[in-house]
């Protein structure tokens, strides 16, 4: 009775969800920014989850990557917009810069992760995040606490029409792409040696080493991937889309908590989890803001606590156990 699950089937519902979101936003007027918000949460959840789901590390300072991504894009545009011949190239360079900054920080975090575990790791990452924020403000580089405001520069370099479309369509669209890419990479990793290696490391690192697994290498791969994706989201959803950056507005731990909420709502360590979690979180946040402005947090906080206590495995976890043994099982991961 050989039963090999077709490898990438679990991606189907994920991509389907993104496609539906995209189509809804694209065709129904007034929905675009809302689905962009949903995509933002899904993408963050998905990217964070690669990190957490595969290694078991809780990176409480994940927002550092998003912030550095934002800075990469902002620096690129601010300092290169004067070279007219670069055209749209400044965004490409900004994006590369975002990935570069994220790589530096990911390598630093990977370096800590190789030494610290659990709460110690979480706190160390918070330390990096806050340390970096106040260093930018204190040492006054990258615009210091004055931040960078570059919408004007962008308009000058690329023209008003292009910028309008970039900020309100393409920036959001790329978040969709990043979210889908994150899902694909997550799936790909899970199904490749990286996934097996990290499962082993997560369960018993010393035994894994004896099994021939270079734990540090695989952890670093997961960190880098997760960091890059976070930076990409930051570059697009915060940098390009909003046209400004203040250190105090981007190095905010609260966003990491949102990642965690998204992932936990959907199901930690699963592929579909962040999508479901992102949809639930984003939609309820949006509608609560519309229906009962001012009371979101009061409603949210007890709900989060109840979910943690009652269903720590999240929606997808519940779904998985419900569908166990049915034909649909192979689509849920």
């Amino acid at each position: 009775m050989k039963k090999t699950l077709p490898k990438y089937y679990p991606l189907i519902p994920v991509f389907a969800a993104y496609l539906i979101m995209f189509l809804v936003g694209f065709s129904i007027p007034g929905m675009w920014q809302m689905v962009a918000l949903l995509a933002f949460y899904c993408a963050l959840g998905q990217s964070w989850n690669i990190f957490m789901g595969m290694t078991g590390y809780v990176d409480f300072g994940y927002v550092t990557f998003i912030a550095l991504g934002t800075y990469g894009m902002s620096l690129g545009i601010t300092y290169l917009s004067q070279y007219e011949w670069l055209g749209i190239g400044i965004i490409v360079i900004g994006f590369i810069l975002a990935l570069f900054l994220a790589s530096l920080s990911a390598l630093l975090e990977a370096f800590i992760a190789l030494r610290l575990r659990g709460a110690y790791f979480a706190i160390a990452c918070i330390g990096i995040n806050e340390g970096l924020r106040y260093l930018i403000e204190g040492a006054k580089f990258w615009g210091g606490s004055e931040g960078l405001i570059f919408f004007g520069a962008l308009v000058q370099a690329l023209g008003r029409e292009t910028v309008n479309q970039l900020t309100t369509f393409w920036a959001d669209f790329s978040v969709f792409i990043i979210a889908a890419l994150a899902a694909f990479l997550n799936m790909h990793y899970m199904r490749s040696k990286i996934g097996y290696a990290l499962t082993a490391v997560r369960e018993d690192e010393d035994a894994a080493k004896v099994m021939g697994i270079n734990a540090n290498k695989y952890k670093t791969i997961a960190f880098l991937t997760s960091g890059w994706l976070g930076a990409a989201v930051g570059a697009m959803a915060w940098g390009l889309k909003l046209g400004y950056v203040y250190p105090g507005d981007v190095f905010v731990i609260h966003y990491t908590v949102e990642c965690i909420v998204v992932v936990l709502l959907g199901g930690a360590g699963t592929l579909l989890g962040p999508v479901i979690g992102g949809l639930i979180y984003g939609l309820s946040k949006y509608w609560l803001a519309v229906i009962m402005p001012g009371f979101q947090l009061l409603i949210f906080a007890p709900i989060i606590i109840i979910i943690i206590v009652v269903a720590p495995e999240g929606v997808v976890g519940l779904l998985k156990s419900k569908l166990k043994g049915t034909k649909l099982e192979m689509f849920i991961e």
């Binding site: 910028v163 309008n164 946040k285």
Partner: protein, 415 residues
């Protein structure tokens, strides 16, 4: 080429539907103000005030004024607001909803320069009039936004009047200390204050910023004490302003004048610090309860007048929030912004975004909030600030002299 085609397609779908809705609609039966307000999160306090101010002025327009005259008939104003949680993601999605789903005629920005900037690209994209009553940074208006108009005065003006006033009463007070919060707004204020102080021939003996969310200013203030300033100007937000005066008192730093932006002008300030510390502290304000702008005053300077009188505004504000709360300048700015919109629409008899924006550009008027006038970029230049001082638990306006409700107590009483 293919890319262009896609772009056109996107435009067609989104704008086509919108445009169709606007073009074939009958003259509007109501005008809607949309607002991604800050009801929770870090700007909740200012957000509540703004909502009260907007509601109060809409109440006045609908029930006292009789509606806006547009297309030959008077139509009511409506107010649609959501909670952005003081966060940038909330702002963008809610503004789009306001524009496309609720079909609002104008969007008011969220509080703070950052959130105002966050919403600007979406408003621009939909060619939607975007009125800023909470983002005081001058830099917002250097980005080439076409649909943004400011009601709040630019940050750089806040302490200019204060310094002029002290110079007027005591030209010998030369040593100025600047200590501001490290926020966009406060830095603007600091820049303006520094420039003006130099112009007045003052000597800057101390100039420092402190981060948002600071819990202890002792080291900074000790340093400041050592420079023996005559005048201290600074502040930034609410709690740091309280902390500032409290710890100056703890360290026995007695100066001739102390003026703090934002926090010092609020009733909560005196309540929190008590008379021993708050007495004599000053604060610049866009508007204070007690400022006497009146239709007569407006006529004297040749400006149109619109809107409720001061006491009327305060009672409408209390009614709107259902609380016995005195409005502060956040409420007044937001309220005055409603009046500016009404005035501009009536001046041209149209609700077309572009035309209204142009009309706002030309508009000059006066309300309970004071003068209103913007430059080409949309930046507010017509509004001047007042300076208030705590005297026996009351806020007394001490500058400009023509608006003053009492005399300046100078030098400030010792802590």
């Amino acid at each position: 080429m293919k890319k262009n085609y896609l772009r056109v397609l996107i435009f067609m779908t989104i704008f086509g539907l919108l445009f169709a809705a606007n073009a074939f609609a009958a003259p509007p039966s109501k005008l809607v103000i949309g607002h991604p307000a800050c009801l929770s999160g870090k700007y909740a306090k200012a957000g509540e005030q703004a909502i009260g101010g907007v509601k109060a002025c809409i109440d006045w327009v609908n029930n006292v004024y009789g509606g806006i005259l547009v297309g030959g008939k008077r139509v009511p104003l409506e107010y649609k607001y959501y909670d952005c949680e003081s966060k940038k993601e909330g702002v963008t999605s809610l503004i789009e909803r306001l524009i496309t789903v609720d079909k609002v005629n104008v969007v008011f920005s969220a509080y703070s320069s950052g959130l105002t900037l966050a919403g600007a690209p979406v408003a621009e994209r939909y060619s939607m009039l975007y009125m800023d009553h909470g983002g005081a940074s001058d830099r917002i208006f250097q980005q080439g936004f076409q649909y943004i108009v400011q009601t709040i005065g630019p940050g750089s003006k806040y302490h200019v009047g204060t310094l002029s006033m002290i110079d007027h009463f005591d030209p010998e007070a030369k040593k100025v200390a600047l200590a501001y919060e490290d926020s966009e707004f406060a830095r603007m204020t600091m820049g303006g204050a520094e420039k003006h102080a130099k112009k007045l021939g003052k000597k800057i003996v101390f100039k420092r910023t402190y981060p948002k969310g600071v819990t202890d200013l002792t080291p900074l203030l000790s340093d400041m004490k050592a420079r023996k300033p005559d005048i201290v100007v600074g502040g930034g937000h609410y709690e740091d302003g309280q902390l500032f005066a409290r710890q100056m008192s703890d360290l026995d730093i007695n100066v001739k004048a102390l003026s703090l932006v934002a926090s010092a002008t609020l009733p909560a300030y005196y309540k929190a610090l008590g008379g021993g510390i708050a007495e004599g502290v000053m604060g610049p304000s866009h508007w204070e309860y007690g400022v006497t702008f009146s239709p007569d005053g407006a006529m004297k300077v040749g400006l149109d007048w619109i809107g409720p009188g001061q006491d009327e505004f305060v009672s409408l504000f209390k009614k709107a929030l259902g609380k016995d709360m005195i409005p502060d300048y956040h409420a007044a700015e937001a309220g005055a912004q409603v009046l500016a919109y009404v005035k501009a629409v009536e001046n041209i008899g149209s609700v077309d975004q572009f035309k209204v924006r142009a009309a706002l550009g030309k508009l000059k008027f006066m309300s309970f909030y004071g003068g209103w006038d913007v430059d080409d970029t949309g930046m507010q230049i017509g509004h001047s600030m007042v300076d208030m001082q705590w005297q026996n638990g009351k806020r007394v306006i001490v500058w400009p002299l023509e608006a003053a409700t009492g005399n300046l107590i100078y030098p400030k009483p010792k802590f």
